[in-house]
């Protein structure tokens, strides 16, 4: 299978500090990739580089065969990137349904395609049908997470980036989230998913492949089991404190 995303020798430095150093990997269609590592390992920076919030210091990123390294975030989104943030970003004063509509209506994806039926279906999927006319600020944190996911999914992304999706979720909610991720990829709703997580259990359930980051570089890659037995990884953070 051809790679959906190719990341080549990507680096980012802030002042003198190398947050991400010489990172290369591919994201393949049909895969859920987990990105793990301790705080400060560079996961969030890598994600920010991917979706375009910050500029690369070095390297390149190809998406669907095209070089997107210089594209601003909203252009990347138009090409099919979808990003769900860790600190929930919904529209507090707007209604739940209005939040979703903003995702569904997005220009460039054919605004005619945003039918009320689509929105209804999404409300069902994220379990917020009964609250569709409530203001988003009234939802619990977990519900807002779901709302954000629903919003992003309505933009029909090819690549879905999730930053700590289970933070603030109960175990059953996290299980639902894992189920959703697998289904999205299995049903080809989304072509690939990248999940940044601390919740190793969730990673195990959801990902085909795991990348471990430490101090700005990828120190291991493989299935969760392979990675957990990797010596470098053990040295880095699973066994010992750094």
């Amino acid at each position: 299978m051809t790679a959906l995303v190719e990341i080549r020798e990507v680096s980012k430095s802030f002042g003198g500090f190398m947050a991400v150093q010489d990172v290369s990997f591919d994201l393949t269609e049909g895969e859920v990739t987990g990105l793990v590592g301790s705080n400060g390992a560079g996961k969030t920076t890598l994600l920010n580089l991917l979706y375009g919030r910050i500029e690369l210091s070095q390297g390149r990123i190809d998406f669907d065969g095209a070089d997107i390294s210089d594209l601003p975030a909203h252009q990347r989104v138009r090409r099919g990137l979808g990003m769900v943030f860790q600190h929930t970003t919904v529209f507090p004063a707007l209604g739940v349904r209005e939040n979703l509509r903003l995702g569904a209506m997005r220009k460039g994806r054919g605004s005619d395609a945003s039918s009320p039926a689509e929105v209804d279906a999404m409300l069902e999927m994220i379990g917020l049908s009964s609250k569709q006319f409530d203001s988003a600020s009234k939802l619990s944190h977990g519900e807002q997470q779901w709302l954000e996911i629903g919003m992003v999914l309505l933009t029909k992304p090819s690549l879905l980036l999730l930053d700590e999706p289970t933070s603030g979720m109960t175990r059953s909610e996290a299980a639902r989230m894992a189920e959703l991720c697998r289904r999205l990829v299995a049903e080809r709703t989304v072509r690939a998913v990248v999940v940044v997580e601390h919740n190793i259990d969730f990673i195990r359930r959801v990902s085909n492949r795991v990348l471990v980051m430490h101090r700005g570089t990828i120190i291991a890659s493989g299935t969760i089991d392979e990675v957990q037995h990797d010596q470098a990884v053990r040295d880095a953070f699973l066994g010992r404190t750094v």
């Binding site: 909203h74 989104v77 970003t89 707007l94 903003l102 605004s111 006319f133 933009t155």
Partner: protein
Amino acid sequence: MLAARSRAASISRSKRVRYAEVIIGVVLLALPFIASDVFLIDRFGRYFTWAIFAISVDLIWGFGGVLTFGHAAFFGASGYLVAIFTERAGWFLPLPLWPAIGLAVLCVALFAFLLSTLAFRGPYPMRGVELAVITLAVAYLLEQYARAGGQVTGGQNGILFSERFELFGLDLHRGRGFYWLAGIALVIVYVLVRIFVSRRIGLVVRGIRENEDRVDLLGYDVPSIKIEVFALSAAMAAVGGAFFYVHEGIITPAAVGVAASTQVLLWVALGGRGTLLGPIVGTVVLQHLTATLSGTMLDTWIFVIGALLILVVMVFPAGVLGFLDRGPAR
């Protein structure tokens, strides 16, 4: 069953707006027939032109979340342009009144378009406080230019208008005539803006107010949308300004200054940001109170108004008609 409860909780947003529109509409329609003092009616006409200005600020600030300290620059610049187009000679000037107003509004919109393009798309995209300060600077600079403008702007003393409002042979320049003219202009502006915000683009604009980054990251071209709204808002302000200053008969540098810009924020905030109707009510009530109290309470009116403002903010923090924007979203 759960959905039914959510629906029954209180009147939906759009219904509230309808009710409010009807009530306010009836009051304003009845006014010229109830009041016998022609001067008072004429005054309300002026309030309407200010209300148009307030709506323009509500559009960019209440709906768009973009705070501006210099919107009076558009209100006043329009007045100046109409004055220059109708009073000065040379090239294609002078113009008759209505084409002059049209051209002035167009020029102001163009200027706002260029300014906001620079602000939102330029090398240093501006937000929040930075943008507010830039608008302040623009207003200040325009005021300085007006003062120093010599032959063109009439300098310190400004320009006197000789044109009067006339349509189909009717004199609409004072009294009841002006009340209806300004009133109709207000209704048109209100309807246009109301349509704008209830369409899809309106939802996106409100989204930008709530969380600009998120809108950007859903793939919308946020700078484009902000520029569009800013230019539209400036055009509305220009309409209000044109009507106001022709009616006044004179325009002076203070018109485009900072003081006028900040006053309008008060009307909008007190009336209720993002409600369109709130700013209308806020403008009319505040201006009328100021006008009447500064005649009857010469020494204390300023304190009374101040106390009233504080009281209103305490009881209605979202503005007197702020409830129109809250509640279930339909």
